[in-house]
Symmetry: C2
Subunit: 131 residues, 2 copies
């Protein structure tokens, strides 16, 4: 079971990474539930998959244009039979904009099992200080 | 049901607020599960209730000495029959230290139902930018 949990989180992290690096907001949001919550590193709260898709497309096309992210799973555990919680570490390289340079972040993801697999119900991200 | 969810989150927020303002790390951690995850505004990840208690006592006795927090629930929903996710807004006034002044934060809480009520399994906090 533990291995499956790790694989589930790793697969989702890989999908998010691929979508970010393709600058594709729709693909980034694809693994989220319809009513997902997303809190970004500025403490801004977005709700629903379409809003998360549009918000990411907007940053991919502006402040994060040309940026590259790498996500690494950093722990996962089961909260109930259909709810997983995990953490992923993100390393972002942005060529320009307010976050130009390399930055680390730590995100908590809450995953829920839906008919077609595990989806992200909650994504909450924080910039790691002192980097 | 929705009212009960809101009351559950509001009660926990009130308990956390009271513990913070009493500078009592043990009391702050009392509503967490034994194996809880806590991510602070610096992106630091702490695990287990005793570690969360000790970590909070350390900041209550140093950088946050004399600080006052106010928490406001900002949404809650059910992820499964025994898992709730909610957000709370925190407004912190710190008289001194690196965060001297007033700061806003947004936290995601994941609550699980245990034998004696709802507990915090996950707390992830982010400072709201531009405040």
């Amino acid at each position: 079971m533990q291995v499956d949990q790790q694989q589930t989180l790793a697969r989702i992290a890989a999908d998010l990474e691929q979508a970010w690096n393709a600058a594709d907001g729709e693909a980034f949001a694809r693994r989220f539930t319809e009513d997902a919550d997303f809190v970004n590193i500025r403490g801004e709260h977005f709700r629903t998959r379409p809003v998360i898709a549009a918000g990411h497309q907007a940053i991919f096309d502006s402040i994060y244009r040309g940026s590259v992210v790498r996500y690494e799973p950093a722990g996962v555990r089961l909260l109930s039979s259909s709810v997983l919680v995990g953490q992923i570490r993100g390393k972002l390289r942005a060529p320009s904009g307010p976050l130009a340079g390399e930055h680390d972040a730590l995100a908590t993801l809450v995953l829920v099992e839906e008919g077609d697999g595990w989806r992200i119900a909650v994504f909450h991200n924080t910039l790691v200080a002192g980097k």
